[in-house]
């Protein structure tokens, strides 16, 4: 089995999987249908203020798993759907930002800066076209980098990193995530510590489930869905409800501006926007490849660098950045959209999730089984077929198909989603909460799971209230088990050497880096005071 054989098997797995229906005798596979539905749902969800991709993924996952079951055949349809949601939500987020000055997703905030002024000048459709074009370009670029880099990086990791180094790498990624998410290394470390503590309760190798205080409720540990959905989704619902409660109808009505002039995107426009899109795509991809650095930073950087270039070159009549420059929309959208593909590089090559969407892909893989994101996926076996590698190339194919959908029908569908902004949040958020709790219950079938989820929701609410980002918690919760397992293996493999993390150069370098990244960011935080 050569590399090309594997690529071909992956493509076939997507196109020739179980058939959903046939058109003119041509079978349409269920995976294709799922990618399309996920994509359309993602655009709608992204376009709805208060909702975001992860919420749709959280709610859809138990339904998908019940539909497709726990067999390896379920992997591509389910993960294809999630990938569709991820990509759809990325472009959908720009719609309310441009039309109504309310970003649908946090990443789309920078899009409001030039998108909304364009709408006020009567160029809403053009702004949406610029956003769509830039977003899809950035996304496609990022995916290409993913396809090339992930297998390569994974092979590198497999051949150079042994158990102690892998343990040290997990520690490094946790401390890196703690340092970079949320702008406060101290609060990031606290978030990681709480996540690790939560995953270690009730688990372990002894007969007595540790830290369970002798209670049967804690002795099984917290199901992964309760922690992730509670901390990420339920806490966000609580926080948004509070904001609504505080503002209680303070905002005015939506003003309608009549749209006029040339709304099309011409070749000349594209040529003018291209340098901005290209720069932002590279920035977004580079940032996305590091676990934990979100698209918000990518958008900010892309916008800032785009502004620097624009100020030197703009004509006298052109609007400034912030006053409705299409280049501003392009710089932002290309940067935040190119994060999502690259974000899967650490997931697929190391098994380390870097953002919320990646967390749900890992959750899906863990629930279904038969696919463990990490370096072992990319073992190119010559004599036997490595089914995980086929799935990996199937995922790449799914991303490529989602991009094709995005280039073809994405723009039209996106421009029709302006109505979603009128869905009242105070109705939507409680319904999302009930949906999430129902989703948890149908997976776990016990009321205790609902209480756990709400408990994590309240914890996440307080964490958000004091400025502790919940994402490091979730990533630590996912990596905690893996960290303990690899440490146990490394410890016994080195014959009980207590300094196994410091005895070989690579592991030592990782450990020094983990300390260094915390020290440097803590000092920067202090300087900023």
């Amino acid at each position: 089995m050569g590399t090309l054989d594997y690529v071909w098997l992956g493509v076939q797995a997507v196109f020739q999987g179980p058939e959903a229906f046939s058109v003119l005798g041509l079978g349409i596979s269920i995976t294709l249908v799922m990618i399309l539905s996920g994509f359309l749902l993602g655009i709608a969800v992204g376009a709805t203020p208060g909702l975001a991709g992860p919420i749709a993924m959280a709610i859809a996952l138990p339904i998908l798993i019940s539909t497709f079951g726990y067999t390896p055949d379920a992997l591509l349809p389910v993960m294809g759907f999630l990938i569709g949601v991820m990509k759809g939500a990325t472009v959908g987020g720009a719609v309310p930002a441009i039309l109504f000055n309310t970003p649908g997703t946090p990443d789309a905030f920078m899009t409001t800066l030039d998108g909304y002024p364009m709408t006020k000048k009567g160029q809403a459709k053009k702004a949406l076209r610029v956003a769509h074009f830039s977003s899809v370009s950035g996304d496609t670029f990022s995916d290409i980098v993913l396809f090339v880099c992930a297998p390569f990086l994974a092979l590198l990791v497999e051949s150079y990193l042994d158990l102690p180094e892998k343990t040290a790498l997990l520690i490094l990624s946790l401390s890196f995530i703690a340092a970079v998410i949320g702008g406060s290394p101290a609060k990031g470390l606290i978030s990681v510590g709480l996540g690790l503590l939560a995953v270690f309760i009730g688990t372990g190798e002894d007969f007595y489930p540790r830290l369970s205080m002798g209670t049967p409720q804690l002795s099984q540990g917290f199901p992964i869905a309760t922690a992730i959905l509670g901390i990420l989704i339920v806490s966000a619902v609580f926080k948004e409800l509070e904001d609504l409660w505080v503002e209680k109808r303070r905002s005015g009505k939506i003003e309608l501006t009549s749209q006029s002039g040339d709304q099309r995107l011409h070749m000349a426009d594209i040529r003018r926007l291209f340098p901005y899109i290209a720069r932002s795509s590279v920035i977004g991809t580079a940032i996305g490849a590091l676990p934990g650095i979100g698209s918000t930073l990518a958008a900010t950087l892309g916008y800032t660098i785009g502004r620097g270039r624009y100020e030197k070159r703009k004509g006298a009549d052109d609007p400034d950045f912030g006053e409705g420059a299409p280049e501003g929309v392009a710089s932002t959208e290309a940067a935040n959209s190119s994060v999502s593909g690259a974000n899967l590089i650490p997931v697929l090559s190391l098994g380390i999730p870097g953002n919320a969407a990646a967390v749900f892909l890992i959750l899906a893989a863990e629930s279904i089984g038969g696919f463990n994101p990490g370096p072992s996926v990319f073992r190119f076996t010559a004599d036997t077929v490595n089914p995980e590698l086929v799935v990996a190339f199937g995922l790449f194919t799914s991303m490529f198909i989602a991009n094709v959908l995005n280039w073809t029908i994405g723009g039209v569908f996106m421009r029709s989603m302006g109505v979603m902004v009128r869905v009242p949040k105070q109705f939507l958020l409680p319904i999302v909460l009930l949906l999430t709790l129902t989703a948890v219950y149908v997976q776990e079938a016990r009321m205790a799971a609902i209480w756990f989820t709400l408990g994590f929701g309240v914890l996440g609410y307080f964490m958000r209230s004091v400025g502790i980002s919940p994402l490091p918690f979730v990533i630590a919760f996912i990596l905690g088990g893996k960290l303990e397992e690899s440490a146990r293996q490394a410890f016994s493999a080195t014959g009980g050497d207590p300094f196994f993390l410091f005895n070989n150069p690579i592991a030592l370098a990782f450990m020094l880096l983990s300390v260094g990244v915390i020290v440097v960011t803590a000092r920067n935080a202090r300087k900023a005071e």
Binding site: I190, G193, L197, D206, L244, L434, L437, A439, G467
Partner: protein, 187 residues
């Protein structure tokens, strides 16, 4: 104006919690220590991983106290937030209890009027019994939360809540035989 002290307070609380975790909870509530010797082989015990978690908390709390004490723009949890989350918790607790016990309660009431007493446990796969708890509890949760945010109860709220719960039942229960709506996995 003096800087906010919320980082200082939070840091001290986290340090205290981590010390409690490291020196009381972990040693008392795990079976094996940091490192164990089993049949002359040294292995990692169950206490090590939670200890690492505690160290993350301790370091984070310490940095917060020593270096980020005076950070600008420290968010605080005000009394109004506590009031809000308390009200939300109340709505959720009441509606989840309704969800859990409405079905069995309805069966008990029906039993008063019937000669052949029935058990909810045996009816949990029968319409309408199996939807009773979810329908009442779910609607109560939606009406409660929406009205809390809006500051008033409207007829349209009740209608939307009922419609949403019906849609959720259609979404999760009708197509799947193997999925159980709350609370039918517990009773």
């Amino acid at each position: 104006m003096g800087a906010s002290r919320s980082n200082l307070i939070l840091g001290l609380l986290i340090v205290a919690f981590s010390l409690l975790l490291l020196f009381v909870w972990v040693p008392l509530d795990t079976e094996t220590g940091l490192i164990e010797k089993v049949r002359r082989q040294v292995t990692i015990g169950d206490a090590l991983a939670p200890t690492v978690a505690g160290l993350f908390l301790l370091i984070g709390g310490t940095i917060l106290v020593l270096f980020e004490r005076k950070a600008p723009q420290q968010p605080t949890v005000g009394l109004s937030s506590l009031g809000f989350i308390g009200a939300v918790a109340l709505v959720l607790i009441v509606s989840l209890f309704a969800m859990r016990y409405a079905g069995p309660a309805l069966v008990a009431i029906a039993n008063l009027a019937s000669d052949t007493p029935q058990e909810y446990r045996l009816l949990r796969d029968a319409i309408p019994w199996k939807y009773t708890g979810y329908f009442l509890g779910g609607s109560a949760m939606l009406v409660g939360l929406i009205s809390l945010v809006e500051g008033r109860i409207r007829a349209v709220t009740v209608a939307v809540a009922i419609a949403a719960v019906v849609v959720l039942i259609i979404l999760y229960d009708l197509p799947f035989d193997d999925l159980l709506l709350p609370p039918n996995g517990d009773v």
